[in-house]
Symmetry: C2
Subunit: 337 residues, 2 copies
């Protein structure tokens, strides 16, 4: 079989260094992929493409249907669209899976037992991008929730739970206030959940849900939630587990998928060989499973875990278990070895 | 001077027991108030008032302009409006102040140094209540942000910071996605902040902001934020500080104010003398400051702190520092003594 073509975007800020590190690890582990470079992000924005992506890149994406993406920077100032949102919507990536796991005692955390997967709706909600100025003093943004949108992501969450031996799916919404939109999401959760009798269902209002996730994350398993809550909840879960620098995500659609770290491009530490490539590496591991190379995926994951256990950490993971603090490239080398 | 008339709502669930406890403490401390009972909540909903408040109660509120309110239960099922939202909007309570403080070592927390005040916009955003069914499959909710709405709450946050010797105000928004609505909130934050040169300003995107609040709350001082984020952030801050059961809130308007605990009516433990009256008591302390009785307010706050320091706790505060676990009434008695 020929190597699987995947689109790869090096991104901005710390993007290039963590992507180099990740691809070196993938190559060393024998991943059978043929990376095709696409340009996304700041330079593309500034070249006049307001969404940060050029037409040629779309051609590559249409051909590969799989994208491994480093974080990008959106230039400040008005007129620019979020590239993440453009990609998610254009490629129809309706579910955003964000596993947040503690790696105690190797990475410091108050919640060693936590292992949560956030399944975030990825196309609708306030992210639909319908925003306007009504008068000089009043602005509006539309929160849009559709039944098919809810069905897709909620079914995905239950299927994921079933396939991965997960016991419970918790729905977090604010349906005491948004009775129609969030109410619909919860109604569909109940309907679809009925088809998965072996899986426990739970519901929490997102305010207290976020608070519980912050203080008692061990109690959660899979969480399914609308877009904006999922954005907030996944950053909370990742930080509580240890660091946003450790979490990867899979954006899944019917005909395409995109894999990325959940953190940003961190321009303040860019180019200094300080960044942790682990989030992007986790994303790449999910990608390998997705394209049918699960053995390579587990090989990488085990080597990565072994590196943490050996106390070889990047600066953001530093703690009592750290034996040596490594830069981005040296950390990647340690994983390879 | 005659006693200050205040409206008092006993609410549902644990409401009556924590209100009784709170009023006993207020009386014992010599608070010069004349409570006037109003009925709000479940029974009023079921009697046919879809917002949970009857016309007579509005008369009392118009006269007193101050409300001390226990949590209420909204009956499940459609057709009922949120009483909290109705009160906040009808009375024009534009700012919701929620101090979240750790009481270590008396109450267990991983963040002994934290002392955060969330100032939450309280009338606009998705809480404006504009929601509709567009087609059988599509529902919409409108997020509304106005310049005057932003100005009021942001000015309140800076004035509060100045009056209370607070050093920093952090604005949390999602203006990388909602460039108009959240963008306006942040622009007004910058404009108004310029008038407070002695106070540091900071801005965080709400996803990473919530995550930082969950893991490094010591770094925050005052946070000002739109309604929905404030709802989520204040539950996080209160839980991280120790328990949602400890936090009170002040809903402030130009012509009226409402004081309440931030937790709900907890029907599961209602009537069992288990509930912690501290959240409502903190709200009452804020009320006493508001109506010009700051000495009584500090007397109560000191007695309450002393009770915690003596290791006399309700069940939800139990930890290594607990000497005796008390019920609601006995805890109130301990504060009085
Ligand atoms: C960069 C931003 C548009 C994005 C989002 O809000 O979804 C990010 O926060 C994320 O969680 O992937
Ligand atoms: C009960 C509910 C309507 C309310 C809100 O969402 O504002 C509550 O969560 C709060 O924070 O006071």
């Amino acid at each position: 079989m020929p190597a699987v073509p995947i689109a790869v975007a090096w991104g901005d800020g710390i993007g290039p260094e963590i992507m180099d590190a990740t691809l070196r690890i993938l190559a060393a582990a024998g991943a059978d992929i043929a990376p095709q470079r696409i340009d996304l992000g700041e330079a593309v924005y500034l070249a006049g493409h307001s969404a940060g992506i050029a037409p040629e890149a779309w051609d590559v994406l249409r051909a590969t249907r799989v994208l491994l993406k480093a974080p990008v920077t959106t230039p400040s100032g008005g007129g620019y669209k979020s590239l993440n949102v453009t990609l998610r919507k254009t490629l129809g990536l309706y579910a955003n899976l964000r596993p947040c796991t503690a790696y105690a005692p190797w990475v410091p955390t108050n919640h060693p037992g936590m292992d949560v997967v956030i399944v975030r709706e990825n196309e609708e909600d306030l992210y639909a991008g319908i925003e306007h100025r009504q008068t000089a003093e009043v602005y509006q943004c539309l929160k849009l929730v559709s039944r098919p949108g809810c069905e897709r992501v909620i079914r995905h969450a239950f299927e994921y739970a079933r396939a991965n031996g997960r016991r419970k799916v918790t729905c977090m919404v604010k349906d005491n206030i948004m009775k129609l939109t969030d109410g619909l999401f919860y109604r569909v959760f109940e309907e679809i959940g009925a088809g998965y009798p072996e899986i426990d269902k739970d519901r929490l209002i997102v305010d207290i849900g976020a608070a519980r996730l912050a203080t008692r994350p061990e109690r959660f398993d899979v969480i399914v939630t609308p877009n904006l809550y999922g954005d907030i909840l996944s950053d909370i879960a990742a930080e509580v587990a240890g660091s946003v620098g450790l979490a990867g995500s899979a954006n899944i659609g019917t005909g395409a998928a995109m894999f990325e770290a959940i953190h940003g491009s961190a321009p303040d530490i860019a180019g200094r060989d300080l960044a942790n490539p682990s989030g992007l590496l986790q994303a790449a591991v999910m990608m390998l499973v997705h394209i049918g190379q699960p053995q390579v995926a587990s090989r990488i994951r085990n080597a990565w875990l072994r590196t943490l256990e050996d106390g070889l950490h990047t600066a953001d993971m530093a703690g009592p278990a750290t034996v040596r603090t490594l830069g981005t490239a040296a950390f990647a080398q340690a994983v390879i070895e």
